[in-house]
Assembly symmetry: C2
Homo-oligomer: 692 residues x 2
Amino acid sequence: MAGSLTLRQALLSPRAVAIVGQSDDAAKTAGRPLRYLRQAGYAGRIYPVNARRETVLGERAWPSLAALPERPDHAYIVTPTEGAVAAAEECGRLGVPVATILADGFTDASAECRSRVERLRRLCAETGIRLVGPSSLGVVNLRENVLLTANAAFAERDLPVGRIFAASHSGSLIGALVSRGIASGLAFAALVSVGTEIDLSIGEICLSTLDDDDIGGYLLFLETLRHAAALRAFAREAAARGKPIVAYKLGRSAPARELAVSHTGALAGEDDVADAFCADCGIARVDTFDGLVEGLPLVARMPLGLANARPRVGVVTTTGGGASMAIDRIAASGVAVAAPSAATLARFAAAGIEVAPARLVDLTIAGARYEVMKAALDILLAAPEFDMVLAVVGSSARFHPELAVQPIVDCTGTEKPLLAFLVPEAPEALARLRAAGVPSFRTPEACADAIAAAARRRRPKPIIADVGGAAPADGRLLDEAEAGALIDRIGIARPPGVIVEATMKRGPTLPFPYPVAVKALSSAIAHKTDLGGVHLAVRSGAALLAAIRAIRAAVAAHRPEIAVDRVLIQPMVSGVGEALIGYRYDRDVGPLIMVAAGGVLTEIKSDRSLRLAPVELDEAHTMVAEVRAFAALRGYRGRPAGDLEALARAVVALSQLATWRDPVIAEAEINPLIVRRDGEGVVAVDALVRVG
Amino acid sequence: MAGSLTLRQALLSPRAVAIVGQSDDAAKTAGRPLRYLRQAGYAGRIYPVNARRETVLGERAWPSLAALPERPDHAYIVTPTEGAVAAAEECGRLGVPVATILADGFTDASAECRSRVERLRRLCAETGIRLVGPSSLGVVNLRENVLLTANAAFAERDLPVGRIFAASHSGSLIGALVSRGIASGLAFAALVSVGTEIDLSIGEICLSTLDDDDIGGYLLFLETLRHAAALRAFAREAAARGKPIVAYKLGRSAPARELAVSHTGALAGEDDVADAFCADCGIARVDTFDGLVEGLPLVARMPLGLANARPRVGVVTTTGGGASMAIDRIAASGVAVAAPSAATLARFAAAGIEVAPARLVDLTIAGARYEVMKAALDILLAAPEFDMVLAVVGSSARFHPELAVQPIVDCTGTEKPLLAFLVPEAPEALARLRAAGVPSFRTPEACADAIAAAARRRRPKPIIADVGGAAPADGRLLDEAEAGALIDRIGIARPPGVIVEATMKRGPTLPFPYPVAVKALSSAIAHKTDLGGVHLAVRSGAALLAAIRAIRAAVAAHRPEIAVDRVLIQPMVSGVGEALIGYRYDRDVGPLIMVAAGGVLTEIKSDRSLRLAPVELDEAHTMVAEVRAFAALRGYRGRPAGDLEALARAVVALSQLATWRDPVIAEAEINPLIVRRDGEGVVAVDALVRVG
C-alpha cells in the first residue's frame, strides 16, 4: 500500500477520490458517483476526470489523472472496458493506492478479455496498486458519506447508518440489502460490490476492516467460493474477535451454479462443499433471502461454542397454529425443539399458568397477557433444558404489543438468546423488538433458517500453515501397489495381495484360499470397474487364468492404448457394509475429507458428509453419524452392527493427508472400505491416489 | 338442514344469530362476538344469550335460547366446555340449523371428553343440526359483516373485502391471514375456523360455498388430513369450476406431526402421503407462509392442464444477482428454468436489445428502461419455449416503477402467466403489480414455492364410487399361498413354489434346481426375515432340511406361540435390481399406491413415490422416474438396464386393488419385486396381503 495509508483507509475512508470517466449526464450510470457523493455530503476532495469536457454536472472536470493537484486515495474508474484498463494503469503509475473498476468484459474466454485481465494482474504486481472489481458497482461507507458507487439504490437519501459490513459478488444486491434493511431494522456501516475479484477478494476486503470497532458483523452475498483461502483467514479472525458472519451463497441448484460460472467467470463447486466450508469457517450460511436480512442479530447472540452441541430450542406462544409452523421448520432443519422438563412444568403450575405437558408451551388458555407472557419467559429463560427460547406471538402483536411483545422486550439482557416470530403483519412490534436487540422474524422460514445456519457453524480450526491458495497441479496417479503402500503408511488395514504377471500360463500358488478378487494393475486406469478391469469371487486357479484373460481383453477393448501387464490378486473381503472415504485438495476450498456409504446408490443420492481436513476423532464420528445410510450399520432391525469406531478412525487417518508435504496428495479415495462387524475393523479394498 | 336454508346460508349468511354465553366484559374472549358484529354493522338480528344478566355490553340479554322471539339461523356458543354441550343440545332441540362451538376440551383421551364428543355426535344424528368446531374461533363473512368470531384480530376496522375463502384448523391463523393479506394485497370474502371438525369438516364447508360466484379461490391452513374424502370431493368440484386451492399443511417434521396429534386429536400421517394427496386433488400445497399468502394469484393463472408437463420458466431481469436467487430456488424445487431459443435470441437482436445467450435474460447491459423491458417481455411471452415468464426487477422498482415495473403491468392480459419478484423493498411497486393482477412476490423463496406448488398439482381423478371415508377394519393377514394366488390374479409374475410339511424327514424332490429359498408359511408372521423365518441360497437337500429346522427353532425362539407347520420352497430369483411396491387403504387419504427401491437403505432414506390409487401406465412411469435409486437401473455407468416398463405395469396392476370389493384389500406389499434385465420382466418374490 502506497504511503502510510492502510488498505481499509484507502478503500473506505479516502481523503480524496477521483472519478475517472464521470459523465455529465446524471441519468447515466457513469453520471451517478459524483451526484451521490455530493448529495451525501462527502467531506473529502472529489476529482471528476473527463478528457472531453471542461465541466461535469456543473463542476470542474479534470482532463486526466496526471493533471490532478494531488494524488487521490481512491479512484473509481467508470469508463468503458478498454479505457478502464488504461485508466487503472495510469493510477498505478501515479501511485494511487486503490482503484475500483466498474466496467465488465473481464470474464469471457476471448483473447482480448484474457489480455485485459493479464494487464491488470501485471499492473498490481508491478505497482502495488490494489484493485476492486472489475464489474464493481462501487464502495459505500455510510458513516463517512463515501458513496463511491454507481448503484442507483444510493440515490435514496437519509440511509440509516449501522454496524454491519456487507460485501457482495453481485453489485445490485448491495442496493437491495440497504432497502431491505430499512424495512427490517438492519443498518450498514459500509458496503462493497467486489465484482470479479481480479485482485482484492471478499476475504481480504473484509479482513482489512476487522479492527474497526464500529463494525459489529458481516453480511456476505456469495456467487462463488473463489479465493476461499482469504475468506477462511478472514472468518477465523472474525471468530476470534466474536464478530458474526452471515452468508447467502448461490448454487443450491445446477442451473444457478452454471449461472455463477457465466456471471463471474468462476468455477462452480458442489453445493455441499460450500456448506462444509462455511460451517468449518464459522460462517452462518443461510438459505433464504429473509434469513440473510434478518438473521445476523440471532447469529450474533449465539456463541460459536454451541457448535456441534445441537442447540435445544424452547418455544412459547400465544398461537398454537403459528408456533407449529415455526416448530415444523426448525425441526425439519435438524435443530431440536425441546419440551419443558417436569421441573419447568412445576414452575409454571406454581406461577398459576396453565400449560399442557407438550413440546410447545402454549399460553392460549392462560391468555395473551403481559404478566403471563413475562412469567413464562422468565421460567423458560432460566430452564436448563433450553439453549435458546423462541416466542411466537399471534394477533395481539399487531395492535396490542403491550400484551405479549413488551414482555419479550423486557426480558432482553439475559444470557440465553431470546428470539421472536410474529405471526400477523405487525411491523411496529417488529421494530420495537429489533430496537431492543431481540432477533425477530416475520416468517417461520426465516426464523428456522437463521437458527439452523447459526447452529451449523463450527469453531474455525487452525489453518495448516504452508498450504497456499492454489491446488496441486494435476499430478500422477499411483498404481495399486504404490497406493497400497500409502494406505499402509497412514495406518488403514488392507487385505493381503499377490502381484503376478498377466501373461502367466498357470494359476499361481496363493498364500490365501479361494475365492479371490483379481484387478488390473495400471496407474493409467482410474475406474477399473468401468473398464471390466476387476473380477470378484474367482473360485479356482483355472477361473483365475480365465479372469485375467477377460480383464486384458476388456481393457484392450475399451482403451487399446493401455496394456495390462500385471494383476493384483487379493482374498475376497466381506463385511456388513461398505463405505467410501475420500480426501482431496479441493480447487475451491482446499483440503477436504469426505465419508459416504459405498455402492452405486450413494453416488446417485449424494449421501455424504464433508469437512475441511484434517479432522479429529470426535468430528469424524459426527461425520459418520451424518451419513444416513450408515443407520443400517447400527443394528438396524436385528442386522449386525458395523465397526463405525474403526470407520471414524480411518476418516481421521485419511484426513491427515492434508498435512503431508512430500508427496503432496491431490486426491485419495478408498472405495470400497469394507466395514466389518463391530470390533473387527475396516479394510481398504481399493484405493485411488493422485499425488500433486 | 332445517327449513329451506342451505348450509352456506346458515353458516355464512345467517339472518339472525344467537351468541350463547356472550359476556358483559368486552375484554374477555366471550365478550368479543357481539362487539365485532355491532362494530362491523351486521344487518341481521343479534340475540345475546346470558342466563345470569339482564344486559350485556349495554344490550338486552336473553335468558335462554328457548326465550328468543325467533329461531336464529346460526348460534355461536362461547360458554365453557360443559355448558357448551348442553347449549348445542338446546340448539338441536329448537331446530337451529348451525351452531359453532368455541370451547376446547374435546380432544383428549379422558372419559369425560369422549362422552362429550359422543353427545355431540348423537345430537347431530338425531336432530340434523350441523356443528362447526369445537375449538372454533368462529365464522367471518366480510361481505355481509358477519363477524361471528372471538378472534381478536377482527377488532380491526375496515378490513378489505375480496374473493378468497379461507378455512383453517388453527383459529388464530384466520386473523393472521387477514393482516398478512392487507400487506400483500390478498383480500377475503369469508374465513372459517373449523376447529376439531366433529361434524362439519373443511371439505364440506368449502364445498358448500363452491356455487358462490363471488368466491374465486380457496386458501387452506391444514394441521391434519382428517376427513380427506370430503376434502377430495370438494377439491374435485373446485377443479371442475376452475377455482384454485392453495394449502399450507403442517407436518414436514416429526415434532410438528406430534403436535398436530395433541392439538387436534387427529392421527398424523406421513408427510409424503399428504404431498401425494394434495397433488392428486389438484391442491397446490405450498411450503412457506409467504407462499400461502402470496401464491394464490399464480396458482389461479396456471391451468391444471400443465399437470405433469414440467412447466418451463423463462426469467428476465434487471439484476443478475437477484434473478440468480430466484432461479436457484426454482430449479432446486424441480421446476425447469429454460433458456431462450436461438429464434428468441434473434428477436432480441432484431429489437436492438443486447442479451447474452444464457439461461437468464439479463437486461443489465441493455439498461432498466421501459422500452427495453416492455420489448423483452413481449418477446418472451410470445416465445414457445416458455410456459410462464418471471420478471425479476432490481433497485429501480423501489423509486422508479415506471422503468421496469410498469412494463410488467402493461403486459397483463396475455394468456401465458407473467409473474414478478422484486429484489429491493418496494411495497408500492408490489401493490401496483398486484392491483393489475400480476402474481408478485417479495422473496425468491415464496416465488419458487408458489411455482413449484402450482406445478406439482395433477388434474383430480375420478373418485371410486363406493369407497367410503372409513378404512377397512384391521383384517386378516393372508398366508403366503393365499397372497400368491392374489398376486397371480392381478397378473404379476411369481417364481414357482413347492409347499412342504415342516416336519418332513428327507429333502423333497423339487421341480426346479438348487439353490432355493425356504420360507416359513404362516399368516401369523408379517415380517418373516426379522424372525429368522427365511433362508436363502440353500444348495442341497441336506441343507434344506437343516434350514427348515433352523427356521422352526428361530421362530419358536422369537414367538413361541407360533408353530411353523409348513414351509414354501422357491428357486432363487436374480435380477439387476429390487423394488418394493405397495398398496394400502390409507387411514387418512384412502387408496394409495407406492413404489420404492428395495433393500434396507430405502427404508432408512425414504426414496419412494406415492399416488392415490388406481393409477394408469403413464402415471406409473412418472412414479418410477421419481424414485432416485432407480437411476441405477437405467444403464448407469455401464450397468445392465432393468425392465422398468414391467415395473410400471406391476404398479398399475397392484393399484387396481383399489377397485376390489370382494375381498376389500386393506394392504398389499410386494417386497422384493425383483427387476430383471430390460425385456425380462419383474418377479414378485414375497408378498404381504391383509384383507379388510
